[in-house]
Amino acid sequence: MKEKPATVFVVDDDEAVRTSLRLLLKSVGLPVETFASAQEFLDQFDPGRAGCLVLDIRMPGMSGLELQQHLNDRHSIMPIVFITGHGDVPMAVEAMQAGAVDFIQKPFRDQDLIDRINRALEKDREMRGELRERDEIRRRMSQLTPREREVLELVTQGKANKVIAGDLNVSQRTVEIHRARVMEKMGANSLAHLVRMVIEAHRED
């Protein structure tokens, strides 16, 4: 299936600001979708779509911070660039702690905003790449036998073959055979590579 192009989603209650952002992003050739409220955005949110979110931190009804919280709850990976006013630094800090990629104070230079949006889109791309890689690792892991999974767990815990043999009450030779099969099935070229893949697989989405 064909993915939609990465889109800049703008959420701002001020129509003039919203319109001006749409025009600016259009001028640099970025696909834009605008929303007048956080709820409006949330209602049509599709976690599968690539892009980033440009979000006014203060809005009547659901605020920008609340929207961020909702998206986190839904395991969204969409990077957020917050737009803040003067004196919103404490809120901006809160937003960053909750995973926002960046914030920018109104009014702003167009290039500063575009740079931040581009960074966010890059991050989105990276994240989506990682996500795809993780899916592949998990697919490979799913092809392991139960015994091979046990060996993988113990190997990545850093245990020696001899210790693993003791734990599983099998011969050291048997452990070596399982281990070689795990490395092969997982496509790992070193123990370190294998460990990274296991950590990646266990990462929270």
Partner: protein, 641 residues
């Protein structure tokens, strides 16, 4: 035949008789000799002249012919009684009796009777002198004396004569009345010890003494107190003269004394009340005046001159001169008009205006006047002039201070709302900047720009610039220092303008402000900025209250409606924690605040603003929790729609 001795004796006797006759006839007094039976034997020439009888007519007749009744009937009895008893009732003494002439007229006589010794039966000689003139003189004297006494007694002054010892030799009835003594009891008493107060006694007596030394003559006029018999003191005004004997030596004093106690008391009371009035006018800085209409003679109290800086000696000014010289030119037309309404239409004058003193300084006065009639019932204007400069200045100072405090509070409220306002200006600025930058990029590649986008950007840039400008304009008009003034305004418009400031602040706090206005609101007369200040303050408080409590009801309602009395009620409802009794008690006390950074002036100033508008500020719980603070503004009569 004739005995020579006898003849000689007879001759001698004859000579004696002739001599006697000559004596009798020469005597001024009438001489009448009667025998024991009362028959007249001798009747002298003087007797003839006195009684109008000739001797021959009366000799041999009873002497009673010379008397009127009742003496006539009684005389025989007296005579017989004397002869029988020898008792001497009249003999040797004289007495006044009434006699009767031949023509019947009566006249007073002094009668002395002698008995001729050693003849038997006895004979009597009577010497009679006419005392008509003397009687008349004595009578005249007596009448004169009585009249003098009557005059003395009639006199409404005390008359007092003292001898050289200070003993009272004469005092009239008025004197007795004044001193509380019967006059006759006073005569003979010492004046100084009887009638002078002890503390004066020495001094007055010393002065009295010096009259007699010739060292001093009494003052024409003197005043001092006397003590009455009952101990009361009276002030007497004296006029004194000294009495001298024929050699010119002072033998006493004569004084007239007038009791001036009451008169002095009245004068003192009058003087005191005049002084009080003058003091009161001076303290109050209030003068009074009377002017006989149309512009007749005037009376001005002293304070009028003090207030106006005019010379009291020059007397009051006429109304025309007053208007021309004292009334400030800027107020003159108004004052003249008020005066003419008073004098022509009898409308009481009640005006505040400025006066200019001769030295050029300006004072504020308040004058009240009305028409009335003077003692001779001529129409006059009477009134007061009150110098209220100090009060005016104090009022002005208070007004300015209040204005500064109000201004300060407004700025302070505005400061609290600054974040919201900054946001409100920042929004259009952000849009403008972004549109401009987008436009620059769109136009960078020739022919690439969509003309619709260019048009959109340009129109939005100008619209947003105006939007920012409007916020700044309202902000300026709200915070700039200004004089209070009143406008007729629709309550809705009041609120609409206010929302420029209130809404961003509320939005910033994630609070929605809902406005509900009734349809039938009349116009209100108010100072819009001051009322907006009150409302902003209430909204600010409502926002703080909302932040303090429930995240559920993040809504503030502003309602406008007509209350039962027809006034416009504007309320601000929040769903915060409400106002506790403890807080309610102090609400509106200056500098009382529950907020960490509050000035404690908001509600106090709101109250005073509303008081000045004839409204009031109050609060009640919001049904379901929270506080509703509301105030009323009187509706403009006749502005109902």
């Amino acid at each position: 035949m004739t005995d020579p001795i006898e003849t000689s004796a007879r001759a001698t006797a004859h000579v004696a008789e002739l001599e006697l006759r000559a004596v009798l006839d020469a005597a001024v007094d009438a001489v009448v000799v009667i025998d024991a039976a009362g028959r007249i034997e001798t009747f002298s020439h003087a007797a003839e002249r006195l009684f109008g009888y000739s001797a021959s007519e009366v000799i041999g007749q009873n002497v009673t012919v010379l008397m009127p009744e009742p003496f006539r009937s009684q005389h025989d009895g007296y005579l017989a009684h004397h002869i029988r008893s020898g008792e001497r009732r009249i003999i040797g003494k004289g007495r006044e009796v009434v006699a009767q002439r031949r023509d019947g007229t009566l006249f007073p006589v002094f009668l002395s009777v002698g008995r001729i010794a050693s003849v038997d039966p006895p004979r009597f000689v009577g010497l009679i002198s006419d005392i008509t003139d003397r009687k008349r003189a004595v009578e005249a004297l007596r009448r004169e004396r009585d009249r003098a006494q009557a005059y003395l007694d009639l006199a409404q002054v005390m008359l007092l004569a003292l001898d050289e010892n200070g003993t009272i030799s004469l005092v009239n009835r008025k004197g007795g009345e004044i001193l509380g003594w019967p006059e006759d009891e006073l005569v003979g008493r010492n004046w100084f010890t009887t009638c002078l107060p002890p503390e004066l006694r020495g001094d007055v007596q010393a002065i009295f003494r010096r009259f007699f030394d010739g060292a001093a003559t009494p003052d024409q006029y003197a005043e001092h107190e006397v003590v009455t018999r009952s101990g009361e003191r009276k002030l007497i005004a004296w006029r004194n003269v000294v009495l001298r004997d024929e050699r010119g030596l002072v033998i006493g004093t004569l004084s007239s004394g007038e009791d001036v106690t009451d008169q002095r008391r009245r004068m003192e009371a009058l003087r005191k009340s005049e002084q009080l009035l003058r003091d009161a006018q001076s303290i109050a800085n209030l003068g009074n005046f009377e002017t006989r209409l149309p512009d007749g003679p005037s009376y001005w109290s002293r304070q009028m001159h003090v207030i106006l800086g005019t010379e009291p000696e020059a007397g009051p000014l006429s109304w025309a001169d007053y208007a021309a010289r004292c009334v400030h030119p800027g107020d003159r037309d108004r004052v003249v008009a008020a005066w003419s309404r008073l004098t022509s239409d009898e409308q009481p004058l009640d005006a505040e205006y400025r006066i200019v003193r001769p030295d050029g300084s300006i004072r504020f006065v308040h004058s009240i006047a009305r028409l009335g009639r003077d003692a001779e019932s001529r129409v006059q204007a009477a009134g007061t002039l009150h110098d209220i400069t100090e009060r005016k200045n104090a009022q002005e100072e208070i007004r300015q201070t209040q204005e500064r405090i109000t201004q300060f509070a407004r700025l302070s409220t505005m400061g609290e709302m600054a974040a919201g306002l900054a946001h409100e200006i920042n929004q259009p600025l952000t849009a403008i900047a972004t549109f401009a930058q987008a436009l620059r990029r769109l136009l960078a590649t020739p022919g690439a720009a969509d003309p619709e986008d260019v048009e959109l950007a340009l129109s939005q840039i100008s619209a947003q610039a105006l939007r920012a400008g409007e916020v700044i304009r309202r902000l300026r008009s709200f915070v700039k220092h200004r004089e209070a003034h009143t406008e007729l305004i629709e309550p809705r418009r009041l609120i609409a303008e206010l929302m420029t400031f209130a809404e961003p602040d509320a939005r910033l706090n994630d609070i929605q402000v809902r406005v509900e206005a009734a349809e039938d609101l009349p116009l209100v007369a108010c100072d819009p900025v001051q009322i907006q200040q009150v409302l902003l303050n209430l909204i600010r408080n409502a926002i703080d209250a909302t932040n303090e409590a429930s995240p559920a009801g993040r809504e503030i309602r502003m309602r406008m409606r007509r209350d039962e009395d027809g006034a416009v009620e504007i309320s601000v409802e929040d769903r915060g924690p409400g106002i506790s009794d403890e807080v309610a008690q102090h609400l509106g006390n200056p500098f009382y605040t529950t907020k960490p950074t509050g000035t404690g002036l908001g509600i106090a100033i709101s109250r005073s603003i509303l008081r000045a508008h004839g409204g009031r500020l109050a609060h009640r719980p919001t049904p379901g929790g929270g506080a509703t603070v509301f105030f009323t503004l009187p509706a403009m009569p006749g502005s109902d729609k």
